[in-house]
Chain length 335, copies 4
């Protein structure tokens, strides 16, 4: 029985995480922290009524470390990297939902997050929590950087094609559509129901903080630096991301060739399904799955990938990483 704590438990990713962990036979949730709320967690999240009775607490790092072997940090960027070093020193393993340990370079971090990194020395040494690509580094890790939701939809379909040199690293376009839960639980005009319902819109074109993360991991796959064009869209639905990617093939390719490469790459992966049909976000909603397909159109290779942004794009991945780090069956609580 692994004792786990969740930091920043008021948000949507924490809520999904709690639900997943309540199904996990090997874990016991021992602490839920919040700096604002002290109510029982099921008052904040009424869907947890009768399922868990912990309060939200404003706990010191020491107190957290005394209660948990594993911490899931759902704190905002920089806040996360402020507490994580002490947790690690106390022998606690950490899955970090923030962007704090995803980027290798403190300068890139500073540029995009407009803040000095509180724990810059550790950058570049923390495995990126996409088990399909980095399982070996995750298993022994003390700290894992859980991936961003958009990056997951970009890196999973494109990595095999870049590694196999089937597509050019240059001139990749990612047109992504996300549900509104991706914006978090804090009320803002953009996410006010009468504003975003019945409307689709682009936002933060060329400025979204997931862009450097995508560039870093696709560059790694390509073996050389690349920069994608990434256009996020806010879509009137709760959950889900669909990413339509456009890339240049390096040679003449057929659709079945591309699908086969993807199929072979993900053959043994329980959570990535290469499909022939055009997938919609609903078919992976509330699951830890990523469905991927590909098409050849004109002079472009297209990949289409869908995930649930809160599960495979956040809390499901986190549990997958946790399972690997603590020696559980990777799929536990996730099927």
């Amino acid at each position: 029985m692994t004792k786990v704590a969740i930091l920043g438990a008021t948000g949507y990713t924490a809520l999904e995480l709690i639900k997943l962990l309540l199904r996990h036979p090997g874990t016991e949730i021992t602490a839920l922290t919040s700096r604002e709320e002290t109510a029982p967690v099921n008052r904040v999240h009424p869907s947890l009524t009768g399922r868990i009775s912990l309060p939200m607490e404003n706990l010191s790092v020491k107190e957290i470390a005394s209660r948990a072997e594993c911490v899931f940090s759902c704190l905002p960027h920089t806040a996360s990297a402020t507490v994580i070093p002490e947790l690690l020193e106390n022998g606690v393993k950490v899955v970090d939902f923030s962007a704090d340990y995803r980027l290798d370079s403190p300068e890139v971090f500073k540029k995009w997050y407009e803040a000095e990194h509180p724990d810059a020395n550790r950058l570049g040494k923390v495995p990126y929590g996409l088990p399909e690509l980095f399982r070996k580094s995750i298993i022994p890790a003390k700290l894992v950087a859980n991936p961003g939701c958009y990056p997951t939809t970009a890196i999973l379909p494109l990595t095999p094609l870049l590694r196999e040199k089937l597509i050019e690293p240059s001139d990749i376009i990612l047109d992504s559509k996300s549900g509104v839960s991706g914006g978090g639980r804090k009320p803002k005009l953009n996410y006010h129901y009468p504003e975003c319902n019945e409307s689709i819109t682009t936002y933060k074109i060329g400025k979204h903080r997931h862009l450097p993360e995508i560039n870093q991991y696709l560059s790694l796959a390509a073996g050389k630096p690349l920069e994608v064009i990434f256009t996020p869209h806010l879509t009137p639905m709760d959950r889900g991301i669909l990413t339509t990617a456009y890339a240049k093939p390096t040679r003449t390719l057929t659709q079945s060739e591309i699908l086969e490469v993807l199929q072979n790459f993900y053959e043994n992966e329980p959570f990535v399904q290469v499909v022939e049909h055009l997938p919609g976000t609903k078919e992976v909603a509330f699951t830890n799955k990523c469905h991927v397909t590909a098409r050849i159109v004109g002079e472009r290779v297209m990949t289409i990938s869908v995930i649930d942004n809160l599960i495979k794009g956040a809390s499901g991945s986190a549990v997958q990483n946790f399972n690997l780090m603590f020696g559980y069956e990777e799929t536990l609580a996730l099927l």
Copy 2:
């Protein structure tokens, strides 16, 4: 050409009002006020781009009075009744969207709105802006109290039945379902997209501020004091209210008898349609219509009524009242 000003122009009712007035051949919008915003109105409401170029302004009452013959006040309760007396003194006519002049009794106002009424002497002398029932008083009025959205859906179907003594005044139940725009434009957790999307919920049972308004006007129709049970529901859609009302017949009635009474009552009304089918809110969305039907079920008379809460429930009614007060065709800009 009537010069009109809109006070509190950042909200949804103001936006709908502006759109309606832009179609009105007899009006010119000369001022839009806001205490917070000073941006051009189309920056706040991008749907107005290219249609109107006024700025939001923080204007004194004197300045407003110098620019407008008619003021539509979309200010909150008590704020509205604070500026209206001075506007009236300056010869400006006013259509008030707030609840300030809807109730006859300052005590009832105080109980429900938890504030002293700033202009209590005027209560009871201001016509209620439901032209279908109070047209004669509206035509010569200097000030009209525009009705609440829920009350409109209750008063229109039940008034003819109460006046004709076909239903008992006691034991009326109103089960109402509203779209989210009824909650206004200010972001709150209740109206945060991932909270209210894909969910229906009751709220403020027995405590909603539209309750005394409904009671007052149904009592008037019944000729004696009555108190209804009123249950509002928040429904995952932008606009629309559907009210299902349950009342006791005073004698054995048939469905066609009830429909005929309603039909006769509203025969010449351009905006109330008595229909045979079960109406949905969408069929009146973006219109100034109220569709009403009735059924006999068991020992109850049921009425079902639908409106667009922002049009017939707010800005459409306001324009209808304005047309009557200024001698325009009642339906101008509303068909």
Copy 3:
């Protein structure tokens, strides 16, 4: 390992059932039938990709009986009762999703379903699959009549109040709001997205087939025949039912008294939560929970209850019944 078959596997309740059973450690799905489809089930339901690889098959009763110890019948009414007798004769236990065995009287069945009952002799002897009320009869049963979704939201909150004689059996009004999945998977104009999106509407007032079922089980609770008024509404959301019930108290009651009665009644029930807040459907979406609360308003007792129509209103209940019938932990696969 219990071998189970699902009849009529193309619909939404079958899909949810499959997902639940895939999480159930004690079952193996051995057959999925359809009279129209012969495709692999994950072609019909792409959300099952990689999770199950059975085909849809058009199987004889004999073949089904040879493959399964338990059959979940998602067939339409009368079709279900046509095959169930033979399944039972072959020693197969059955959970029936249709209405075929819910009513005690063949005459009432004929009146509401406009067909002769194919297995009339069995009526009145089949336990109704609401474990919270009929657990003792379900445990030894060979056949269980899985409840309708609307009835579940009516019977759970009102039964304790009727049994305790706290509310009058007469004059109960049920105003229910359901998501669109309740209408099934077959495309119809009513459920066409641009028709029902952004609209709420009543339907089948006084004519819905769940009405006799509600009447029968509330009469049982009251100890005498009663007839409710039941108004279903189609609500623009995928899942969920919220039922607002209005009943007359038999004596002066307080809200806390009512809540306490409900609380005591459901104290040990894992799937019924008596809550103090006003519950929304979203808080029970994708769970087997029913959240219930109560209010006193004017001279009425109100109960508000929410479920996921596809889980607690169909497939979750079915698995709960299955667990009881086969000696599994009642909550298995349902938490």
Copy 4:
């Protein structure tokens, strides 16, 4: 007073057209045809209750010609071109909503619509009903080919840039997102509420019938043949199309340069607004507007354009064309 008839009046574009024409002071609707329905039109479209009382009729071309000076044909492709020649011979002017007269080449038509064109000789001589680009040809026309919804969102933003040689004709990618009403009023599984609600999906990649139309008119703008990549997405909302276009600049360009070119091009157009913010579909819903903006990202020019698919993408454009053909103010009934 111009007498107009609408052929194929059961669909959504016809409904929107009727609503627009009811606001048009210069038209009288004299016939509504349907081959299936003979009900009063407001029984099919309850939102028309009390606004129009015509029946649907199955009329001969001769009868139609005797009743109308202008026909709006909402018939399906090939059906439309089967009746239009006779209408023209009878001196009736026609605005055709189908694709029948949009393409210049009978071969291209046959390839994409899998049918011989019934009136092939007229192809290439019918003006394309985008007044912003082809106003001069529309004014004297007897027949106008009303544009497709997707093409409108592609051709309006890209034409100025192609004409000015600011972007390369090759390698244009159009990633488009449409609301569900674009799929028509006929129930199909794709458009069944529980299927498409809460889901976004691509469809008909590289195969959508609007592709040849886009290619033809962008080729015209470029002065040489081009082929775009076009990816339509089905988005969970009633109305609206957002098209995100990616093109290669021919030289180094700034965002303000691009915006200025667009601004100058559409300066006097009442229905195209070049905006600086990132537009969402909701801001043009229920209007005849197209909002357009542009961005430079990496080595790409992006344009983002939004319309209401049923208004500017269909019925609003049709009325705009009608106004031009019959000498009315172009904006009549459209503001």
